[in-house]
Symmetry: C2
Subunit: 145 residues, 2 copies
DNA sequence: TTATTAAATTGTAATGTTTATAAATAGTGT
DNA sequence: ACACTATTTATAAACATTACAATTTAATAA
């Protein structure tokens, strides 16, 4: 099924007139297979073997392209660098304050909040973001020790 | 009432053993009076007149101190620099994608989401963040033109 | 297949925000 | 007023991200 996702992603690029390069193919593949939420540097480092000459600028450029095409979501937290999530189904994230782990979390969209916000502020509301912060089971165990 | 907030803030600093300096007084005052959500640089620039020799490091240091004492909340969005909000009552933010305007928005806490997240992921949940994005009335008018 | 052309990549420099550091200064309790 | 530290200042450093120009390459059609 990852194969399907990759094919669909490449198809989406083709339809938008975005050229398919080996670098783009590899970055997409990594994003799809990665169960984590990697930073640009994570991606850069893990493709070092396959693309010894790839520039870090290429990773950033293509992540921006993927974001603009709607294939990838950029997650910006307080800490230094952005993380990237290949878009599949809508979901939220639960984040560990202690170790930074990010876990997917499914929950119906907060439509009511969006509506009220629109009503109260007069904004044309497009979307929202929500994350939940806490301590993951691993870190909880360590603390109790 | 801003006077009361300032007094209470200074009192909170005193009780935590944090010294009260003219710079801290001025930064707090600015945060309380500011109806906006300023960046560190906004604060630095607007206090230039009163403190020609103040270092930008002082602004950052003190914003961190205020955050640690619980007087100030740091807002980190995708864009370059953090914004700071003097803590009064709990509220969320509605943000304009077009001009960056940030508007306060009151809504009851999303307790149910926190509970479900905790139940599903096993996290010890502490808090959450939520923002709503869209187009503010001003920018909507301009677009329609 | 080859030629063409615009788009993408690369390498490097530049940008901008935030932090680290060490010396000078100033707030607080006595 | 004194002593003790916390704080401020000035500056350099760190770091992620972007800008730029030269080179390379993907896509298209002859
Ligand atoms: Mn995710
Ligand atoms: Mn606010
Ligand atoms: Zn953890
Ligand atoms: Zn606006």
């Amino acid at each position: 099924m990852e194969q399907t996702q990759l094919k669909e992603a490449l198809e989406a690029l083709k339809e938008t007139g975005v050229r398919i390069t080996p670098q783009r193919h590899a970055i997409l593949e990594y994003l799809i297979n990665s169960m984590s939420h990697p930073t640009a540097d994570d991606i850069y480092k893990s493709l070092e073997g396959k693309f010894p000459n790839m520039s870090v600028a290429t990773v950033y450029n293509n992540l921006r392209v993927f974001r603009e095409v709607g294939l990838v979501k950029e997650l910006t937290y307080g800490d230094s660098s952005s993380r990237f999530d290949f878009i599949t189904t809508h979901h939220y994230h639960v984040i560990c304050d202690s170790c930074g782990k990010i876990v997917d979390f499914h929950y119906p969209g907060l439509d009511e909040v969006e509506h009220l916000a629109s009503h109260v502020t007069g904004f044309k509301v497009g979307n929202h973001r929500m994350e939940i912060y806490g301590t993951c089971p691993d870190c909880s165990t360590k603390e109790t020790h």
